[in-house]
Structure formats: C-alpha cells, structure tokens
Symmetry: C2
C-alpha cells in the first residue's frame, strides 16, 4: 500500500514532536507500506522569519519572500528525516524542487502545474521513506515558489494523486471533522464520513481542518482523505465520494469564517462587460473573491457587493481604486467587521425550504443578514462579526442537534 501522510506545523512544532511523528511514520513503514510524508514548517518558524523580514523591509519582493519562507519546510524535512533514520528506516528528504513539483510563477500563491514523480518513485522503490517539503515548488525558471494558504495539504493531496496513493492522511490537532466548531458548540459531533462536496463547502467556509484546494484536488483524482490527529491512533473522518446521496443527512455541518471582508461598489453603470472588468482585474492579481451580489438596477446603475479575505483586502482596494475611472462607478466602501455562517449538507438537494429555515433561525436571534448566497448543498450568510457565536449555536441546534 502507498500512503501519503501530511503533518502540519504544530505536529512538528519542536524536536520531541518531530520524534513522535517519526515513530508514527516508521510504524507505517515497518508494516511494509510505501510512505511519503509531506510536512509544514515547524510551529513558529514562519512567524520568526516574517518578523526578521519586517526588520529589513516592509515591502519585500514576493520572489524573495518565497526564497525566505521556503527555508521553514526545508528545516522540518531535514530534521524529520534525521529522526526517522534514527529509528531505523531508510529515508530521504526532498525540497519541492527536488520532488519535481512544478508551479506557475505567481510567487506566494503559486498553483501546481505538474509533478514529475520519477525521483520519488525511485526512492520508494529503494525502500526509502520520502519526506517532502510541503507548501513549495519551483516555477519554470527553477525559482522557488510557495503555494500560499493550505499549501502543505495541497502538496500532500497532489502527490497522492500523482503517485496514485491508496490514501492521503491529513494529521491535524483535531481528531476529525465536526458538525461545527466544538469550541463554540460543545454538542458538536465528529463525523465518521463526509463527501468531498460537503467537505469542500465546509473547508471553503472556514472549518479550517482542510483547505478547499486540497479537497478539490482529492475529489478530482478520487483520493480518499483521512483527517485524523497525530496525538493518538483513533480513526478520524474519511472524506470520499458519497456512496448514497439519498441517505445523507440534510445538514452535515455548520461552519463560520472570520476571515471575511466585504467590499461594496455603488452606482456602477449598467452596461455589458462591467462585471468582467472588475473581477478580471481582481483575479489577475490572484485576489480570491467569494460571494458576489449585484443589486437590482435603478436608473441604469447597479450596486455590486463582494467578499474577499481580510489578507487580500488592502490589495483588492488598491485594484478597485485603480479601475474606478475605467469602470465609472461612483464610490466604494469596505467592512471588516463581518463574518460568514453557513450550513452544509448533501441532503439539502432533496429538502427544499432549508434556506428559509436558516433565515428564520437567524431572525429568531435578531441577527441581520447582510449578504446571502446559496448552492445546491449549502447556504451562507454574511452577518455582523459580533453575532457569529450566537448564529452558529442557533443553527447547530436547529439543524444538527434537532434533525438527526
């Protein structure tokens, strides 16, 4: 069996934890399985590097940021390989470039174009554990790139896909995927199985266990993901194609996300190509736009609202400002004091009226809805940040606790 395991920054946060991860990897290897391990930078390394950087400049070129930050994973893989060797398994560590992870050249947010698996396969065939630096690759010029948010999960799943692994295990500090955040709602339950689509909605919505990029990849290549903790051997949550959509629970989970900022453009001329100009300009700079809402036209003018992450807000506003004359809208506002709450469930497809129930549950708590979007298996609302906990509790009570 070929297993890809991914350990995040807190799992390799210090030498003792690295040794614990090594024991876990060697256990698997000694069962006779082929093992590829993708790791993140140790706990605080990335923050330490960023703080060092800020003492040098406030305006670092992104290429050089990648050169700097990619050292974090390189340190982890070297140390983990040493710990694995110490326990008796033959092992080799590989940087993103050495693995053959080729990306585009959008520094700090690169996308994987292809993985050349020759070196990894060769090392596996020699009986070695292969320890891979997550989060990084090289562009066509051989320059180091990083994959941005969720990069290490993406490395693990992309490798699992390229190697046709039997399973990709994602080790986190929680023991699986819950019906909602247990820190907010103590009654939250761990799910033993969840479909890619539900996980995707939950991941996109800030459940923070798995990054949506990695879930998308896993779905695309049919790689089962096993989300579990590195602190014990309990089974976690398996993410895979739903075998029986009809019997899926109506609502699998309730998610919330604080990393949301709202931007509103007002008095946008109602003519063809306006939306294209705005959102092309944003996507060209790799700004992820999430919800988009266009209000009813009046006097040939629209209002357009959309959300992005708080990290991207400043850059997004610069772009908006730069295209204001070209597009011809009168002004814009932004608001970071918001959050997004969502319900997700494959069963929603066959249960109309779930959205209305959600709005009612929120209204009962006196919570105002600022934006709404729906898909076949989720409903999301942007609300005031301060209302988030109250909203999550009410939704979990209504949909998860009561219905199931």
């Amino acid at each position: 069996m070929l297993v890809v395991k991914k350990f995040g920054g807190s799992s390799v946060g210090d030498p003792e934890r690295i040794k614990r991860v090594a024991r876990r990897v060697v256990e698997e290897h000694q069962k006779g399985n082929q093992v590829v391990v993708a790791v993140s930078a140790m706990g605080d390394t990335t923050d330490d590097l960023i703080s060092l950087m800020k003492q040098v400049t406030n305006n670092p070129p992104e290429r050089e940021m990648d050169m700097l930050l990619s050292t974090g994973e390189q340190i982890s893989i070297a140390l983990l390989a040493m710990a694995i060797r110490d326990l008796g398994s033959d092992v080799v560590s590989l940087t993103g470039g050495q693995v053959g992870i080729y990306t585009d050249d959008v520094h700090t947010k690169a996308k994987i174009l292809r993985i050349e698996t020759g070196r990894v396969r060769e090392e596996l065939n020699q009986g070695r554990v292969v320890v891979v630096a997550g989060f990084q690759g090289v562009n066509p010029d051989g320059d180091i790139t990083t994959l941005g948010r969720g990069g290490s999960d993406t490395t693990a799943v992309a490798l699992a896909a390229a190697l046709r692994a039997d399973v990709c295990e994602i080790f986190t500090d929680v023991d699986g995927v819950y019906t909602t955040d247990p820190r907010v709602v103590p009654e939250a339950r761990k799910l033993s199985h969840i479909s890619y689509d539900e996980m995707l909605e939950l991941a996109s919505l800030g459940a923070q266990v798995l990054h949506p990029r990695s879930v998308e990849l896993a779905k695309q290549y049919g790689i089962p993901l096993h989300v579990r903790t590195s602190f014990n051997h309990m089974e976690g949550t398996i993410v895979e194609e739903a075998p029986d959509m009809e019997n899926a629970p109506v609502v699998s989970g309730v998610a919330h996300d604080y990393n949301v900022a709202k931007i509103g453009l007002f008095d946008v001329p109602d003519k063809p190509g306006v939306a294209k100009t705005i959102f092309k300009a944003l996507s060209k700079q790799s700004i992820n736009v999430d919800m988009i809402i266009q209000s009813a036209m009046r006097n040939n003018m629209n209002d357009i609202g959309f959300t992005t992450t708080i990290d991207d807000l400043r850059k997004a506003l610069q772009i908006i400002e730069a295209i204001q004359d070209e597009v011809g809208f009168k002004g814009y506002t932004h608001d970071e004091d918001v959050a997004k709450v969502s319900i997700v469930g494959a069963g929603m497809i066959s249960h109309p009226g779930v959205a209305a129930d959600m709005f009612e549950a929120l209204a009962d708590e006196g919570i105002n809805l600022e934006m709404i979007t729906t898909s076949e298996i989720k409903v999301s609302c942007v609300i005031k940040r301060a209302d988030t906990e109250k909203a999550v509790k009410a939704l979990h009570k209504k949909f998860v606790t009561e219905w199931q």
Copy 2:
C-alpha cells in the same frame, strides 16, 4: 567592471548589518559596475540549527545535515536581496543550485566540480545585482551539498574565476592581513600586499582571514583578492601574484593555529606501501592530514607521526583503529594539547638559515619542538599549546619587528 564581494556571517549578523551590507553593494552597483555578492549564514544561524539538530539526533546523516544547514545561507540571501531592492537596485537571490554550482557528492565537505554561469550572466546583463548563497552547491543528483570550512570564501573566488571577475573582495571583521595576530602581538602591522603563496601558507597556518581553498583557487585563476573590512571604506590587503620576489621581505608573517591534534603510530613495519595504506584510508574519509613525519628506522620498525584538525581527530582515530591489524603497527597515541606556530615569507627562498634562527628564538624561550616541517617559504613547528603566545611574540619580535 565585474566585482565579486563576499560577506561573512558576522557582516550579515542582524537586520541592521544586512542593511549596511546592502548600502555598500548598492554604492558599487550605482557606479555602473556589475556586482555579484556571496554571503554566509547570519551570525548564529548555523549554531542554532545545529543545536536544534542535536535535540533530534546525535548521529545525523550527512546528506540531511546539508539539507538543514544550507537553509542558513538561503535566509541571508533572501533578506539581503530585499534590503538591496529597498535601496533601489534591481536584484535577484540565487541558491547554490540555482547559480549552477555543481559539486561532488561528499556531503558536508563537497568540492566544486564546475560552475555553469548562464543564469548569473543573464541576470547581470539585465542590470541586476546577483546575491548568491555561499557554502553550498548541488551534486550530480541535484541534492544539496555544503562545501565545509571556508566554503563561502571558496564560493566567492570560484564564481569570480568562472565569471572572470576583475576583483574578488573578501569582507571580514578585520581590516586586512597582519604580520601576526594583533590580539597576541600589539605591534603587528597590516600588509598592503601579499603574494598568493605567502597568503596560502598563512591561511593554512590558521591566520583565519582567508581559507586556503579560496587562496589556491584565486592563485590558480589569477583572481586578485582584496581582504577588507565591512565596517569602513579603508583599503585592506591585496593578495596577488608577487611582482618582485627578490624584494619580498624575508618573513611576511607569523601564524599560529590551535586547531591541531597530533597522532603517533609506533612500531610500524618498514615495508613498501605502509604509508600509502594509512594515508589513503584517511583521505578516503576526507580527513585532512597536515604535517607527516616518519622517524628513522630501527629493527625494521618506524614511528609515524602526523597532525590533523581537532574536528577530524575522532574520525581519524577510528580509521587508525580499523586499519591497525592490516598495517600491523603496535599502538598509537594522540595529543590535542598542542599548537602550531609558523613563519612565512617569500624571501626565505634566498635567505638560508631562517629555520635555524627560528629554532633558536624558540629555544631561547625554553619552548620544546615536537614536530617540524619546512617548505620553501615557511617553517612550522608543533609545540605545547600553553607556549603558543610566548612563541608568537618571540618570532614576531625576531623576524618581523627587527628585520624590517
């Protein structure tokens, strides 16, 4: 003009120092010169990484050590490139592998096989400052190697040779090459010029300003070296081919080296091939042997003594033990409580009797000589460690202060 500048770990020890180095580099670049900068890891980075490593294992595979330690220079180049960009010069940082520094695969002590200068030339032609990670390269498999002691100097000089640079400036925390260590002898004088050969003897002998590997390379390719401080703009010492050997001072400098250990083999059978077996075994494991002395034969048995560095002592003793039966010597001893003092000068060739004067000066101080070697331009003696300062003072007084 094409200038290669090398800055050591203390020159880039913290963000402020990195910015100072950046100013110096940008000054040169704004004069219209092409500039390549080789840098070491920041001050304590390497020590920090080693201490982290020791918490994971006491027996790290050397390949993984290189993977780990090479991150130190990668952090420096990224930060220095950011600081240079901030001052307005276009710049790119490159790891050893990206530069095209190809080495053999003796991890932690690799030798440069060739440098493919295509990428560096292309960047220089685009008007960019090129910031290069010292101390590292890649082996034919693309695995990261490090060059061992003096590695960053070697990177700088090898690049200067490959690029046919006009000069290679080595920035250190001293302002040039002195007639002896000024911390030991306050009368020590800075030399404005010194020949490669003299520098080579001084470097080999522990003057610690320049590593002998880099001086050898510079001599071989005729690259003038300028040893100077990064703390001010004073001229330092130029190392180049001696233009006029006849007028060279008899003794240019007095060097001492504490990184010396003595190993003695006794009752070695006097038969052909014995020395070969011993020293081949050592060199195969990349143990540098310095002085070798074989005593007069008695009863078909020899005593063989040699010195190595303290770092290599343990490994050397293991090798000696492993070959004892094969070679058939009766026993061996070792001594770390020694040091080496030397006088160096191109003028010694035409002044016989200098060695005798040296022995006399040491005898006058009551210093016992444990080993002696001579070359055309130097005489070295191994003495008790405790006598070192006394010896250096006496030799500097006799040869440098009195004669010149």
